[in-house]
Symmetry: C2
C-alpha cells in the first residue's frame, strides 16, 4: 500500500497553516483540508491587534498572509469537509464528505471551533436574514440601522465596536453585569456613544414582521421581566464548540468534545495529533494556535523519522 | 508600601514582548527590562522564514516590529541587567546591576538563553577579534576570507548560509556525520558550493600568528588525527545555556538551569512566572516563545485580579 502523504492537516487556520510551514520545511509531503474559507476564525475577525510584530491587521489579511506562507513550501490543499479519519495501523485514511479518500502516515486535527448558534424558535430560518454570526461579513447590510450583539467576551465586544462604524446603534446584551473581555476592549465599549449595554438579560424570542426581524425580546435573569429591543439585525457571540464530530469513534475527546493532547500535541492514538483551538486548553489565541501547529508538525517529523 | 508595577518582565525577546502586549492590553502597569538589545536572539538571526504570516523577514526587523508593538500600549522599558529578584511575599523587588530597585506584584522571566562559548585556550582573548558569536553582526569583517562555523543545528547552518554571501569559503565542523537541522536547510547547505562540511571533528586549538587568528586546529573524533583549517574567522554555534543566574536563590530551576513552569507558565513561587526559551521545553522557536508570553501575561492578569 502506497501511503500518499506524510501528513494530512485538517483545517487551515493559524494552527493548521503553521503546522504546514513546519512540516513542509522539514520536507514532509503535506496535504491541508479546508471545509470553508482558509484562515479559520481569522476570516471572521475584524481586527487583530495582539499578533506580535504586526500592530494591527484585519483578520482576512492575516489569514491570506498565513495561507500564502503555509503553502509556500509545497503543501497541497483540498477544499472539502472531512467526514471521517480511519485508523489503518501505520497509516490513516481521511474520507471527505464527497467520498474521496486520502492516506497519510500522520494526521493533525486543526479544525478549531464552530460558533454556537442562537437557540430560539425561528433561529435557523432567519440565519443570514437578520441573524448573523459574522459582523465583518454581514455588517454592511445593517448600515444606519439598529442591531443587537449577544455576548460579553472579546469577540462580542470587538465585533460590537466594529459594527458601530456602520450602524446607527448597537445593543450589547449580557447575562451578568460584568464582561469577560480584556480591560482595554471593555473601556473602548463603555466610551462608545453608539453602544448601549443591557446587563443581566438573555435572548427570549425573535420579533418579526412580514418575515423580517424587527426586534429581539429579552428576559431579565433576576426579575424575568420581558422587554423588546427594536433592531434589524442580531449578532450572537455566545461561545463555540470544537469541530470534532468526525473523531467520535476515537477515545481522544473530553466531555465537551475538545481533543486531549500531551505537550507534544499527540493524542493517545499513534500518528494522530491535534493543534489550536480544537484542543483542551485555557487560552485560545492566534499565538497559542501557531505554537501548537509548530509543535505538532515537529512531533510528526520525529514520529515519521523514527 | 506602594508597589510600583503590576508586572515586571525581564527580557525583551519574542516571549517578553508578547507578554507586554497582553499585559498592557489588560491594563496592567508594566515594566520591561532589557540588558542588551531589544529583540533577544532575533537580533542575531539573519532571516526568519517560519513566523506565520510573514514569509521572510530579517531578525532585526522582526525584533524592531515586536519592540514597537510591545511598547505600543504603554509598557515602560529599562535598559539594565537584572542582578536579583527578591521575594517580598505579596510583591517582588527587582534589583539591577546598577543597584536600582523596582517593585512589582508579579515577575515574568523571559531572559532566554546565552550562546555557549568556545572552550579553547585563548578563546576569551580572541572573542571579537577572530571569534564571533553573531554572523549577522560581524560577517562583513570577513569579506572574501575563509571562515569556520562550528555546529550542526539550524542556527549554525543558517548562519553559514548567510556567511556565504560575504566570505570566500565556509567550513562547517560537526561532531557527528549527520546534521541536527531541518531538512530544507541541510539541503541548501549541501547544494552551496562555498561550503565544505567537515564531519566527525571537534575544535582542538586556535592557530594564530602575530595575535591574529589564521586557523582552527580540529581533531577527528574517531582517529584523533589533528588537522588545521586555514581561516580568518571562527563562528561557534555550539548550543546555549539559560540566562538564569539571578534566580539561583529560588528552587525553580532544573539541573541545566532552565525554569520549571506549569502549563500556565507559573513557577512554584507565587507571582513568579517564566516564558520562552528560558523555560524547560522541547521546541524553542519564535512561535513557541510568543505563545508562552501570552499565557504568562494572562496568568498574571488572573493572579492580580484574584
Amino acid at each position: 500500500m502506497d501511503v500518499q502523504y506524510d501528513v494530512i492537516i485538517i483545517g487551515s487556520g493559524p494552527a493548521g497553516l503553521t503546522a504546514a510551514v513546519y512540516a513542509t520545511r522539514a520536507n514532509l509531503k503535506t496535504l491541508i483540508f479546508e471545509a470553508e474559507t482558509p484562515g479559520g476564525k481569522l476570516t471572521k475577525t475584524y481586527s487583530i491587534e495582539n499578533y506580535p510584530g504586526i500592530k494591527s491587521i484585519s483578520g482576512v489579511d492575516l489569514a491570506m498572509q498565513m495561507m500564502e506562507h503555509g503553502t509556500e513550501f509545497g503543501a497541497a490543499i483540498e477544499y472539502a469537509p472531512v467526514e471521517k479519519v480511519e485508523n489503518c495501523g501505520d497509516y490513516k485514511k481521511v474520507v471527505t464528505a464527497f467520498g474521496d479518500e486520502f492516506t497519510a502516515k500522520c494526521v493533525i486535527v486543526a479544525t478549531g471551533t464552530k460558533e454556537r448558534t442562537l437557540d430560539l424558535p425561528g433561529s435557523d430560518e432567519y440565519t443570514g436574514r437578520g441573524i448573523s454570526y459574522c459582523a465583518v461579513c454581514d455588517g454592511a447590510f445593517y448600515r444606519n440601522k439598529d442591531v443587537v450583539v449577544v455576548g460579553g467576551g472579546n469577540s462580542a465586544l470587538e465585533e460590537a465596536l466594529y459594527l458601530t462604524q456602520l450602524v446607527n446603534k448597537v445593543y450589547i446584551v449580557i447575562r451578568r453585569d460584568v464582561f469577560r473581555a480584556d480591560a482595554t476592549v471593555v473601556d473602548k465599549v463603555k466610551a462608545n456613544e453608539k453602544i448601549e449595554i443591557v446587563t443581566k438579560s438573555l435572548p427570549h424570542a425573535l420579533v418579526t414582521e412580514n418575515k423580517v426581524i424587527t426586534g429581539l425580546e429579552i428576559e431579565n435573569v433576576d426579575t424575568h421581566e420581558l422587554k423588546v429591543l427594536n433592531c434589524s439585525g442580531i449578532f450572537p457571540y455566545i461561545g463555540a464548540d470544537p469541530a470534532t464530530g468526525f473523531l467520535k469513534n476515537y477515545d481522544v475527546l473530553d466531555s465537551k468534545g475538545y481533543v486531549i493532547v500531551d505537550k507534544n500535541m499527540a493524542t493517545s492514538v499513534p500518528g494522530l495529533y491535534a493543534a489550536g483551538d480544537v484542543t483542551v486548553k485555557d487560552l485560545r489565541q492566534v499565538v497559542t494556535a501557531t505554537n501548537d501547529g509548530a509543535i505538532a508538525a515537529n512531533s510528526v517529523t520525529r514520529y515519521i523519522n523514527k
